[in-house]
């Protein structure tokens, strides 16, 4: 990385160049979607080596994001590392799968500093612990005691129903309207978590 970095395209056949580069790492499957979007499916233990290679030799200096997807039926988390090369003008998305339990993986903060933010976010929202990450602590959900809320098994509507009392909105002026056949669209007794329905249960 230097101050002389260029944004001119240096290699027109990106897919071929990338395939050549990837021969240095085992456990990587390359999928060329179109020129500026390349997908790599990576064995989880090969990812740090791959990112080191992409960042060092491949000029992919920009970590755009790390996304987490909860594939609950497969009992796996998918972590997607989106890296961009200013010189090649290509976005490479490296996909790995890790088991949901124990939900631990290695931090890539040493390779890409922005990873610190995304790893903390995934830790808070999915409960995935990144070993070696500097900020495995709460940032957004500092007052949250519940389970990681972005996990698929977390049903936010049920959680609200279990933790809050719903109140029927039935002021006098509404009663007058209802007497004339009008009213609000969802009647209190039809609301999913109305106090009345809860009491009946």
């Amino acid at each position: 990385m230097s101050n002389e970095i260029s944004t001119e395209l240096v290699c027109p056949d990106i897919s071929q160049w990338l395939c050549h580069l990837l021969r240095e790492v085992d456990g990587v499957t390359h999928n060329n979607r179109f020129d500026r979007r390349q997908r790599l499916d990576v064995a989880s233990d090969a990812l740090p080596a791959l990112l080191t290679l992409l960042q060092g030799k491949g000029s992919f200096v920009h970590l755009s994001a790390i996304s987490c997807v909860d594939w609950i039926k497969e009992n796996e988390f998918e972590l997607v590392y989106h890296v961009w090369s200013y010189e090649m003008k290509v976005m490479v998305s490296a996909h790995i799968r890790i088991p949901r339990e124990p939900g631990r993986y290695l931090s890539v903060y040493d390779i890409y500093k922005p990873a610190g933010f995304f790893e903390r976010d995934i830790f808070e929202m999915y409960g995935v612990y990144f070993e070696g990450s500097p900020w495995m602590e709460k940032f957004i959900l500092t007052e949250w005691d519940g389970p990681p809320p972005m996990r698929k098994e977390f049903d936010s509507e049920s959680w609200v129903g279990d933790h809050f009392d719903w109140q029927d909105y039935h002021p006098d002026w509404l009663k007058d309207i209802e007497a004339q056949g009008g009213g609000i669209a969802i009647r209190p007794e039809e609301q999913r978590f109305s106090r009345k329905a809860k009491d009946e249960c």
Binding site: R36, H62, V69, H82, F117, I140, E157
Partner: protein, 380 residues
């Protein structure tokens, strides 16, 4: 708010103290906070404190139909909501293989650039206020309102437009609208010399911003900086040109850069971008009347719409930098996963913490506004 969240992180020595800068503070953009540790008036450590604007957009979107989410997406970032709509719509279009009609693409460019102008005017106003100059603030907000009038006429909404939908845009331009846009651009351009005199070349602003919050290009690349903040370090990277979308590759515009990397340079880049956006909108006004066609591609019944399984990473250049959406579908009626990467998730956390370290307390607001961070992009 629990008290334990506001206890000192460390027991400071007697000559150090901690200050909570926000979450309700005129020097902070939005509801956001910095926990600042000071020695005298020098910042020894700054720790970003987010979460005040967390509304769980990503979770909510998994529970709503693809089309229903259009009402949610612009609400993530108030000052510049249009790119959110575009990025989400682009991702859905790619998953469905929808071809957006050419006229719709030009209309989208019109909306994006007007939104960029409005967002930059808003930022100039807020930034000027951090140096005690309130006139530019009133001017910036008032001139942004002129652009919002155009949005109201085009989309029905002043701030949240919900104009982009997967496949195109909701409405074509009303009669006489392009003429009114042209007049507004003339007005905004005529205001630029006034802004220069009052704000950009004002010695108060220059003295307060030159050399403050300096970021080298190497630091910027390491910290994931994008947008005007990156271009202020001398790297001419812009998603519109380098990862083109819509019809930006058919438009003639420059990528303004500066080299100093400080608060002053960042503001000058935005000042130059304002002019470039006016230039782009003028090209749209010239070309649009000759571009026929529908304004959206046909989509299935949106209330019974199963988007094919797949994933797409959509990127656009918002006024603050690279805005990306990672959208995953499992073939269902709702998104399986949406992940929003706002540019401010870098600028308002690691970059802000880095730049504030060693700065003087009175410069913290200056640094924050010069980064043009939008805290809701961090919290989502």
């Amino acid at each position: 708010m629990r008290a334990e969240n506001y206890q000192a992180r460390h027991q400071p020595p007697s000559n150090e103290y901690e200050l909570n800068f926000g979450p309700n503070h005129p020097g902070i953009e939005g509801n956001y906070a910095l926990k600042v540790r000071l020695h005298g008036d020098t910042v020894i450590e700054a720790k970003a404190d987010g979460g005040y604007l967390h509304r769980g957009f990503e979770k909510l979107m998994e529970q709503r139909l693809w089309i229903q989410n259009l009402a949610l997406v612009p609400r993530i970032c108030v000052p510049d909501p249009a790119p959110m709509e575009l990025a989400y719509s682009t991702a859905v279009e790619n998953l469905c293989g929808l071809d957006v009609p050419v006229r719709a693409q030009w209309l989208r460019v019109l909306q994006m650039e007007l939104s960029r102008i409005a967002a930059h005017l808003f930022t100039f106003g807020g930034h000027a206020a951090t140096t005690g100059m309130y006139n530019p603030m009133y001017w910036g907000v008032a001139d942004r309102d002129v652009v919002l009038d155009l949005f109201e006429e085009l989309t029905g909404g002043r701030v949240y437009h919900i104009y982009n939908i997967p496949g195109g845009v909701r409405k074509d331009v009303p009669d006489g609208f392009l003429g009114r846009v042209a007049s507004t651009l003339d007005y905004l351009e005529s205001r630029l010399p006034d802004y220069d005199n009052l704000f950009f070349t004002n010695q108060v602003f220059v003295t307060r911003s030159k050399g403050v919050g300096t970021l080298s290009q190497q630091q910027a690349l390491e910290l994931g900086v994008t947008g005007p903040n990156l271009r202020a370090t001398g790297l001419a990277f812009d998603v519109r040109r380098d990862d083109p979308y819509l019809v930006y590759d058919q438009l003639d515009f420059d990528i303004p850069i500066e080299h100093a990397g400080d608060a002053w340079a960042r503001t000058l880049v935005r000042r130059a971008e304002l002019k470039e956006s006016i230039r782009i909108v003028r090209q749209v006004l010239e070309r649009l009347p000759s571009i026929p066609g529908p304004i959206r591609a046909p989509i299935p019944n949106p209330l019974a719409w199963n988007v094919p399984a797949g994933e797409y990473y959509a990127r656009v250049e918002s006024s603050k930098g690279e805005l990306s959406w990672y959208v995953v579908s499992n073939g269902g009626a709702r998104p399986y996963r949406t992940h929003i990467r706002g540019p401010s998730s870098m600028h308002a956390v690691q970059v802000l913490e880095t730049l504030c370290k060693g700065a003087r307390l009175e410069d913290v607001a200056q640094i924050m506004f010069s980064l043009d961070a939008c805290p809701p992009e961090v919290d989502r």
